[in-house]
Symmetry: C2
Subunit: 262 residues, 2 copies
């Protein structure tokens, strides 16, 4: 058998003010941080921990739950609790919407993914007309109806991002933007062909815990926040021609930006 992890865990300090379940969590966290437990390794079972520390099962479960919400471990029903493997992260560079990529016929997500050497996919595409949500209308500067393009992106089969693009109907109606497949270079390439030469994008980045529906759509583990990114595209006339509302699994991305020191 492998080395006896449970035997090497720190003992409880009965004189400490710190709650027992926190002390148990501390000792397991310590074992992970010191590398005694590596990525993907199985933690001692609840029963083993109950024996080792001489506490009730709920106390052990409290400790494990704490580590889960910290994003350090993942419980798998019927199998055990495992040190969470760090999934490969994708770097999104600040030139990801550069025209040269569109010119090559690649949409931003696809170009980024291929550069990172992973297989990208898109699914659950929904295109419809609707009244824009308030936040979107504020950014578009209009409450008139929009075309909403919703899709989900996957990475080697794992869902990592959902995105909804909102384009004013007066721009999108009757164009390929309203089709499920917007063609080479994505909707930004189509917008430029329609005479809306793109000038810049403004991105707003937030982070928070996922709503239950986001947890479902992205199959998120406990302890995984989401990055909420809202991007507004402006043409050279200064008009907002698209707003893209994106929810990303935070453990799958690093966002990269270049700022001028000017």
């Amino acid at each position: 058998m492998t080395t006896d992890v449970v035997g090497q865990l720190a003992r409880l300090d009965p004189t400490s003010d710190r709650a027992v379940f926190r002390q148990i969590a501390d000792s397991l966290r310590d074992a992970i941080e010191r590398g005694r437990l590596g990525e993907g390794d199985k933690l001692p079972s609840e029963a083993q921990l109950v024996n080792h520390f001489g506490v009730a099962r709920m106390t052990v479960r409290n400790a494990l739950q704490l580590l889960q919400t910290e994003g350090l471990v993942i419980a798998e029903h019927g199998k055990g609790v495992f040190v969470r493997p760090r999934p490969p992260v994708r770097r999104l560079a600040s030139d990801r919407f550069a025209r040269r990529h569109r010119k090559q016929g690649k949409a931003a997500f696809i170009a980024e993914a291929e550069q990172a050497g992973v297989k990208p996919e898109v699914d659950s595409l929904v295109v419809k007309q609707e009244a824009p949500p308030k936040e979107i209308a504020a950014r578009l500067g209009s409450t008139r109806k929009v075309l909403a393009r919703h899709r989900r992106y996957l990475h080697e089969g794992r869902p990592v991002e959902t995105a909804t693009s909102y384009i004013p109907l007066d721009i999108a109606q009757g164009t390929q933007i309203a089709e499920p497949n917007p063609g080479p270079g994505g909707i930004y390439a189509r917008l430029e062909e329609l005479g809306h030469e793109l000038d810049h994008f403004d991105e707003e980045v937030r982070s928070r815990m996922p709503l239950p529906e986001e947890t479902r759509a992205l199959q998120l583990n406990a302890g995984t926040p989401v990055i909420h990114l809202v991007r507004t595209a402006f043409d050279t006339d200064g008009r907002a021609v698209e707003v893209c509302d994106t929810i990303m699994a935070a453990d799958a991305f690093i966002l990269g930006y270049r700022l001028p020191a000017r």
Copy 2:
């Protein structure tokens, strides 16, 4: 008394596969999303929920814990469980390191905060010389010793950000950068005076759940992720002259970036 919130909660569905504590969480979440419970409002007490749903206290506590990890509510010992108020967020604009701010004698955090109309503070300043952590050395392109400036930023008294700047010793030693107070315009102004004209900054943005130490330093509530931002400053010679490693309370910030469409 106020309206009877607990009486308006949805009933349990005994035929559902969904766990009872999840159904209870669902009904409370629903009340929050529908606005029956507003920001700062007190949820029904555990005892009230136990009576209303006819379950054991641990079942109710499980439901409340779920809502806490979702960041929707905050439990306060001896007082109750409350709908989490959305703290005022600060927008960080992509021109926050523009030279015109330094010229006005303001460091980036101060300038941003004043623009947002909040009172900024800095505390627990530590300045020392050390070997750079591996990640920092990689960005500086050197493993030689650095000057590390650690500080914590507060917002109307609330800690919202910790930051550590690493500057190569051959640049910083003997200058005002090595002093606790770097002078007007902050260390970037000093770097430029020393002949390192700044060209651009590269920022990397990640999000994850906080480590216990970060939870302490930022006094984070359950269900609050952190934004981990690493900024590298480059001078016009292309040399990395500073790396700043920042941990921000995710509920206190919106990051804004402008991307070229070029």
